[in-house]
Amino acid sequence: MRVQEAPFDFGAEAGRFAAAQDSAGAVVTFTGIVRDLPGGGLRAMEIEHYPGMTERAIAAIEAEAVSRWNLLDSLVIHRFGALPPGDVIMMVATAAPHRADAFAAAEFLMDYLKSRAPFWKKEITAEGAEWVAAREEDEDALRRW
């Protein structure tokens, strides 16, 4: 797991993760990308986090995923700081013998990262800055696990 300000190369990370597997049949990745606002105008998505707790929360989420599914490996990289539109915010990767486990674990990790890891997003535009509100659906998504 890595929590970092610097950009990272999603393709290189995904390729390295897949190549490192020697008994997995299935690798799933998720990548979150900074989307511009409808109509444009987003200067940056600023991501604040809680150093220390972030790492603990992600480690706990990954351990929970490993205990629930037949998972061989997982990876979480999450950035903080000011990210321009188009930048990769974060990625998750899972490796499992079978695809159902790899998919379920990746979705689970994402649902938990969204609502249980201490990150907060703020949209910076020419008009000012606005904190992104948590979405009801993201909280609801947790209930299925």
Partner: protein, 82 residues
């Protein structure tokens, strides 16, 4: 003596990222009451605790949780990671 941390709009509203607080409060809710009573900016930040989350020593907790043995309390809005 307890370290109190604020994140996102809670931090902005209170104006500082962290402070050391001398408190006799037994629970998070008690600490919130003390902070609210201090100044308007605290009252504003803690006006609606249903819009807030709290972590005790970096683990999510409830507002009625005990502060016994706790060194670090953090207040923040619901997370928006991923």
């Amino acid at each position: 003596m307890i370290e109190v941390l604020y994140f996102a709009w809670v931090r902005e509203r209170i104006g500082i990222p962290r402070e050391t607080v001398e408190t006799g409060a037994k629970t998070v809710a008690g600490l919130v009451d003390e902070l609210r009573a201090r100044e308007e900016r605290y009252a504003a930040a803690f006006a609606d605790t249903s819009a807030l989350r709290v972590a005790l020593d970096q683990e999510l907790a409830d507002f009625d949780a005990s502060l016994k043995g706790v060194r670090e309390v953090a207040f923040f809005p619901p997370m928006t990671g991923g």
